[in-house]
Amino acid sequence: MKFKMRQSSGVTILDISGKLMGGADADHFRDMIHCLIEDGETKVIVNLADVKWVNSTGVGILITGYTTLRKNKGDLKLLNVSNKIRSVLYVTKLNLIFECYDNENEAVNSFS
């Protein structure tokens, strides 16, 4: 997993590429979320445009980020979710938890 971080209207956008699965990805993502919280950046959009698939461990990584940010009065929303990832969210009913957007402006504006 690789990522780039950028800001838009007070919202942090994490552009992730590669695969979101177990191993080092989990530590990497958790550390990234904790750094953001320490900096007071708790509104986060995870852009999955360049992530083809996640496994259940990857879903767990996203959930950890979501719950950590929510406990810190923030939120984590998903952008550009592929059909494969949508399938995993759908079957686990996590589509009811995660807000998913196809348009970046809409995702950013949803925080205001």
Partner: protein, 146 residues
């Protein structure tokens, strides 16, 4: 296309991408719908993830083996680990609610059960576990088409 395809790889997440590609090629060749193809790929990746994480405990010296059987009416995939395994019977009795966000792990088997037509576990005589996943060619996809 050969009826059976066998791939064996070290316990590393990096090889799951190869599994994804192989699943896609086989399922497409067999005539599965795009959504069913996705479900097969997701499920076999889950089985391989379980094999390398829980079966082989991520030990790089222990391999994961996947055997794809392309049958007239269905695709059957067997995934083998060569580790000490885990108590799948106990797990199956206590499958966590996948939508519970306090639950960080444990969704893999649920995902496989929901996406495939059948799923079975079998402890191997010497060491390790065999997981068998099957998808019928004429079955409906389990998740929505976008």
């Amino acid at each position: 296309m050969a009826d059976n395809i066998v791939i064996e790889f070290p316990s590393s997440y990096r090889w799951l991408n190869v599994i994804d590609l192989i699943c896609g090629e086989i399922a497409e060749e067999m005539g599965f719908s795009r959504q069913a193809l996705n479900e097969i790929s997701i499920s076999v990746i889950e089985a391989c993830t379980n094999a390398l994480e829980h079966g082989n405990k991520c030990c790089p010296e222990s391999n994961v083996k996947a055997v794809f059987h392309s049958l007239p009416e269905r695709l059957s995939v067997e995934v083998f680990d060569f580790g000490e395994g885990f108590d799948f019977e106990d797990y199956l009795r206590h499958i966590p609610d996948p939508s519970n966000i306090d639950q960080k792990r444990g969704r893999g088997i649920y995902i496989m059960q929901e996406m495939m037509d059948s799923l079975s576990f079998e402890k191997q005589p010497d060491r390790g576990m065999k997981v068998t996943l099957e998808k019928r060619l004429n079955g409906k996809a389990k998740t929505t088409d976008d």
